[in-house]
Amino acid sequence: MMVQAKLESLKGIKLHEWAVRFFFGGTVCVLAGLVARRFGPEIGGLFLAFPAIFPAGASMVEAHEKKHKARVGLDGTNRGRTVAGLDAAGAALGSFGLAGFAITCRVCLPHLGTGAVFVSATVVWAVLSVSAWLLRKSRIFRNMRGRRTTLNAFRNP
């Protein structure tokens, strides 16, 4: 399946859902700072990869899919939870990119300017994340999947 951008899906998002994302994102950043201040940068650094808005995001994905199915008279409970699971699977693949981002910052920060490091690290995150996703969808992995429900769901997300 090709990657698409559906701008119309933004219309279905309510104001409070934007607010929840902003609130959780801001709160986690504050939490990361407080932890670093209390326990030092080594423990504080762990929270740079905190699943910031993951629970709220997964819940919204589930709710949107359920609502989408309800419009055509179907119970979308199971479908909503499966789609939330797919979202989580994508996040798991994205964690490789997150590690790449961290390693790039670790290696480059002492040598390069802050802007250059952030741009490079973000590019590394994007390349690694998309590569992991493409690899996961490739024929090699498809043949290894067998009948397992979790992995088969990647075929027809």
Binding site: P41, G45, A88, G90, A99, A102, L109
Partner: protein, 123 residues
């Protein structure tokens, strides 16, 4: 911004963290919302939104060495994220549990896995 700037006060720093962090997280969440398929959109669930904000403020306040130390630990946080998200995905698709309850209940797993990996690597 330098250590003598707006970020030098505790309140100013916390407000900056909240506003900048909330904004960057919202940007990545918006991109995720428009992307299809959902497995691809999920990549943005692991976007470095918190890291960008926190590292930028850490550099402004404490310098690059401090931020590099945070970035090193972040690698173990990312490994914990992999464990957390993979298990959440498996449970959601296998047992069809509620997304919010499942992903919230598993958060201690992220913390435990991250600290354990960091501890092993730091010995």
């Amino acid at each position: 911004m330098t250590s003598g700037g707006i970020l030098s006060s505790t309140e100013g720093e916390l407000i900056a963290r909240f506003v900048i962090g909330g904004a960057i997280v919202s940007v990545f969440a918006t991109i995720a919302e428009v992307c299809r398929p959902k497995s691809f959109a999920g990549l943005f669930g692991a976007a470095p939104s918190v890291a960008l904000t926190t590292l930028a403020i850490a550099i402004a306040q404490h310098g690059k060495d401090y931020a590099a130390t945070e970035a090193r630990s972040m690698v173990f946080g990312a490994a914990g994220f992999l464990v957390y998200a993979a298990l959440a995905s498996w449970i959601l698709m296998r047992y069809k549990t509620r997304a919010l309850a499942t992903t919230s209940a598993l958060l201690p797993l992220w913390l435990g896995a991250s600290i354990a990996l960091w501890f092993i690597a730091s010995r």
